[in-house]
Amino acid sequence: MSQDHLPRLKVGLAEMLKGGVIMDVVNAEQASIAEESGAVAVMALERVPADIRKSGGVARMASIDIIENIMKAVSIPVMAKVRIGHFAEAQVLEQLGVDFIDESEVLTPADEHYHVNKFDFKVPFVCGARNLGEALRRVSEGAAMIRTKGEAGSGNIVEAVRHMRSLTSELRALTTRTDEELVTVAKELGASLELVKLVAKEGKLPVPNFAAGGVATPADAALMMQLGAESVFVGSGIFKSEDPAARARAIVRSVTHYRDPAVVLEVSRGLAEAMPGLEMSQIAPEQRLQERGW
C-alpha cells in the first residue's frame, strides 16, 4: 500500500467514531455491556483510571489475554493504551490487531523526552492534549485523533472543560493572525509553520477532536459536545457507577442529542448513583495524570 494512503485510513476511522461514546472496559463481560449499550468502541484496560489512581505503582499496557478476550467478545473497534514513548508496546498491539492505540498519560510514561513516532505504524493513534500546542505536536508525530486529557479517574469534569476551552479559544485566535505573526506563534506552539498555517486557515485541527477525562453523567457528555468535542471517552464514569448498563445507554443518547435538553433530561431520569468524584485540591499536583506528556 502506498504510504500516502495511511494517514487517510487512520483519520478515516477516527471520522467513523464521531458522535459516539468510547468506553473503558476491563474484561469481556464489560465490553459486551458497552457494545449492547451503543458504544462505538471500547478501550481495553487492566484497571480503570480510578483504580490506577488508588493502587499506585507502575501502570503498563493491559495484559494481552485481557485485550484478546475483549477483541473476541465484541464486533466494534477495540482500542488499547500504551505508555507514552513505549513504541514496543505499540508494536505488540499492532501485531495483535487492535484497531486504535491510545498513547496515554493514564499509564506510567516509559520515555521522559519522546513520544512514539506514530507515522511508523499502520494502526491509528489517539493522544491527549491540554492545549493547542500539545495537540499540534502530537499531530506532528502522526496522531490521527486528539482528545482532551482532563483528569482521568477523578469523576470531575473541570479539567476536561479547561482543556477543551483552551484548545478552541486558541484555535479561534489563530484564525485572526497574520502570516508574519504565525511564524512566531509556530515557534511558541512548538509546531511546524506549515501545520500552523493549515490550522489557521481551516480554524480546526486536521484530525477529530474528542473529549476525555472526568465524564461521569449524561450532562457532562452534553457539556463537552457543546464545547466542541466530536465524541466522548468515558473511563471510570460507567463501570464505577451503580448501574453501568443504564448509565452507558444514557450517555450514548446524550452524546447524539447533545443540543436537545429534553432528551438529556429524559435519559438522566431514574439513574442510579454516579461514580464518586474528587475535588481537584484532593489530588496532589504530582499525582495529576494530565501533567504527564509535553
Binding site: L9, M16, K18, G19, S75, E94, T256
Partner: protein, 217 residues
C-alpha cells in the same frame, strides 16, 4: 436540493461537506419529523451496531416509509449494513429495504483497511454513469476508501452491481437507492458516486428522467 443526513453517529460531517460541494444543502436528521420535505437522504458510515441502538422505532418506521416511497438515498459502509435484508458477523437487525445480505467487517480489522485507487466498473455501472453524463468518453476512476468495510454476500435480482473490487460487488443500485460499502465522502475530490447520487436526486425532482433526457413538465 435539500439532502438529509442521518446524524445519530458516524461521519455525517464528511457527508455534509460532500453535499455542499455538489451544490446541495445538508440537513441533520435525528428525529422522524426531520425526514419531511427532503429531496434525498444519506445513511453515513460509522458503527452500525451503535446506530441501531440509537434508531428509535418511530424513526425506523419513517425511514422505511420514505425509502419504500422512493426517496433517493445514498448509503455508505455502515449505512449499507443498516439497509440490508440480512446482516451477519454477528447477526443483527436491519431495515431490510435493500435486497442484499452483508457480512460485517468482511475484510478484517482496522489494520486490514485499504484504499483501492480505481474500482472495476461493470456494464451496468457504465450505463448508469452514461445516463448521468459522467462518462466523458471513458468511465471516470472511482477511488474507494474501505474502512473495516462489510462484504456483500448476496445480491437480489432487482439490484444492479455498478462496481466491483476483487470480483466482489461494492457499489450497487436498487431503484433510487445507491449503496457503497466504501466511503465516497472521504475521496480527495468529489467522487463520481456523489455525482451519481446527485443525478438520482435531480431525476426524482422531475428535472430529468433516469435516462438523462429532460422531461417536459
Amino acid at each position: 436540493m435539500k439532502i438529509g443526513v442521518l446524524s445519530l453517529q458516524g461521519d455525517f460531517d464528511a457527508h455534509a461537506s460532500s453535499i455542499s460541494r455538489i451544490g446541495g444543502k445538508a440537513i441533520q436528521v435525528r428525529k422522524p419529523s426531520e425526514l419531511s420535505a427532503l429531496d434525498g437522504i444519506v445513511l453515513p458510515g460509522g458503527e452500525s451496531s451503535a446506530m441501531l441502538k440509537l434508531l428509535e422505532p418511530e424513526l425506523i418506521a419513517e425511514l422505511q416509509s420514505v425509502l419504500l416511497k422512493g426517496m433517493p438515498a445514498l448509503a455508505t459502509c455502515a449505512g449499507v449494513i443498516l439497509l440490508a435484508r440480512t446482516v451477519h458477523n454477528p447477526d443483527q437487525a436491519s431495515l431490510g429495504v435493500l435486497d442484499i445480505d452483508v457480512q460485517r467487517n468482511g475484510y478484517g480489522r482496522q489494520v486490514d483497511s485499504f484504499i483501492e485507487p480505481s474500482l472495476r466498473i461493470t456494464d451496468e455501472g457504465r450505463a448508469a454513469l452514461q445516463n448521468a453524463q459522467l462518462m466523458n468518453g471513458r468511465a471516470p476512476e472511482i477511488e474507494a476508501v474501505f474502512i473495516r468495510a462489510p462484504i456483500i454476500t448476496r445480491v437480489g435480482s432487482d439490484v444492479d452491481v455498478l462496481a466491483q473490487h476483487d470480483s466482489q460487488p461494492v457499489l450497487l443500485r436498487q431503484g433510487s437507492i445507491l449503496a457503497a460499502t466504501f466511503h465516497p465522502e472521504l475521496a480527495r475530490t468529489i467522487s463520481p458516486v456523489y455525482m451519481l447520487f446527485s443525478h438520482l436526486v435531480q431525476a426524482d425532482d422531475g428535472l430529468i428522467d433516469v435516462d438523462g433526457s429532460l422531461l417536459l413538465r
